[in-house]
Point group: C2
Chain length 241, copies 2
């Protein structure tokens, strides 16, 4: 009956730790140094904070050679972070992010195990516009897959059979930058992996974000009739090309 929820809340309540957790929100595992850079703090500081997060059970760690990879402890942690994000006031007249990396992150990123950012929102809205998914009238946080949508997903190579793990199937996850929903849940995760397998999206070089490839631009145009712009590449990647 005690207020032990204050423990995880206080862990998330430190700005540096919050940034570390946000950097981990894509569900992947990163070495401590990368996270320190991503959170904009020194290595000692990150190490200290990550140790606290580890002890608090919010992250997991596995040692791999001389690297220590940290990742979110589970979906519950990601959902708590999202729930807290929803309590922040919406940035109504926000300016465009200055750095290219920040812009990439706004444009397209992975959110634990599905697609997020402007691309994620655009995809969900395209699917909805084409009648493949509809917002659940009873539940603002869910999509329903229409019969036409079932066929589209099947053609696209995404299984729409209910999940065995009793996981939310087609969740409408409120995008933290766009403040509009994108497709999450088991269906969102499957679609994300399929897009990856098709080469329509790719991890950005060094960055935390995702990149819509030229194949993706053409693919989305063909299958959904939606015009998207390829995400700008980094200097390094452009130089190499």
């Amino acid at each position: 009956m005690d207020a032990n929820l204050a423990i995880p809340a206080a862990l998330i309540g430190d700005p540096v730790r919050a940034r570390l957790l946000l950097a981990l929100m894509d569900g992947r595992a990163y070495p401590a140094g990368d996270l320190a850079r991503g959170a904009g703090c020194t290595a000692q500081s990150a190490s200290n904070h990550l140790a606290k997060l580890l002890e608090g059970g919010l992250v997991l760690m596995q040692q791999e050679g001389r690297h220590r990879y940290y990742r979110l402890a589970g979906r519950d942690v990601a959902e708590a972070v999202e729930a807290l994000q929803r309590l922040t006031p919406a940035p109504r007249f926000t300016e465009a992010p200055r750095t290219r990396a920040a812009r990439q992150l706004r444009d397209a990123r992975s959110c634990y195990d599905h697609l997020a950012g402007r691309l994620g929102v655009a995809l969900a809205e395209a699917l909805e516009a084409r009648g493949h998914i509809v917002a659940d009238p009873d539940n603002a946080r869910m999509y329903q897959v229409t019969p036409a949508g079932e066929r589209w997903f099947a053609d696209f190579g995404v299984d729409t059979a209910p999940t065995a793990g009793r996981r939310i199937f087609a969740r409408a996850c409120l995008d933290w930058t766009e403040r509009r929903p994108h497709l999450a849940g088991a269906l969102g995760a499957r679609l994300f992996h399929r897009l990856f397998a098709l080469g329509w999206i790719a991890r950005t070089e060094g960055g935390r974000g995702l990149r819509l490839t030229l194949a993706g631009v053409q693919g989305f145009k063909r299958t959904l009739g939606v015009e998207l712009e390829p995400v700008e590449e980094t200097h390094a990647a452009r130089a190499r090309a």
Copy 2:
């Protein structure tokens, strides 16, 4: 892109503020002094903390004479608190709460706008055992209402029409003390109000909890065939009777 989720998290991260928020989790409004007593802190301390919660937008305040009533700012706040509660380690071999008030709270309480505690879990399990609701196979956090359930709810005086507000209809809310789901969402809220209107449950005197009345014991036996024990009354209420 900044980590402003740290602000609400830090607000919840203080043990006293967390207790204040837990005391408000039933969704009702309480004067500051009551909350101070409930959280076990001085009036000054509570006032200070409540001012911070107010500024952070986690609670709302309305002045009524010389009282200032505080209540949760909305469902989002309650859901964030619940999400954080899920990150706390489950008390596996917890001892029975010592005080009568704490025991009442464990037995039956309201969780923002629906029934929780042992009674809430027992009710959800009875509804599930009778086949009125089933756990959604695709979504661990949702119930589905069966055709038989539709009839039962209608007979009981609870409307099962989808909600206009696009709110989650039959949510399975993980009970924080029992660690098992109870019925939440719009359907849970309607059922809660109906139970209240029928006089099957009542607010405890002075406490934060709920009381299963004798009418409730008989009613649950008759309509669901489930044997429940009336929640013990307080000394004061017993003396008055």
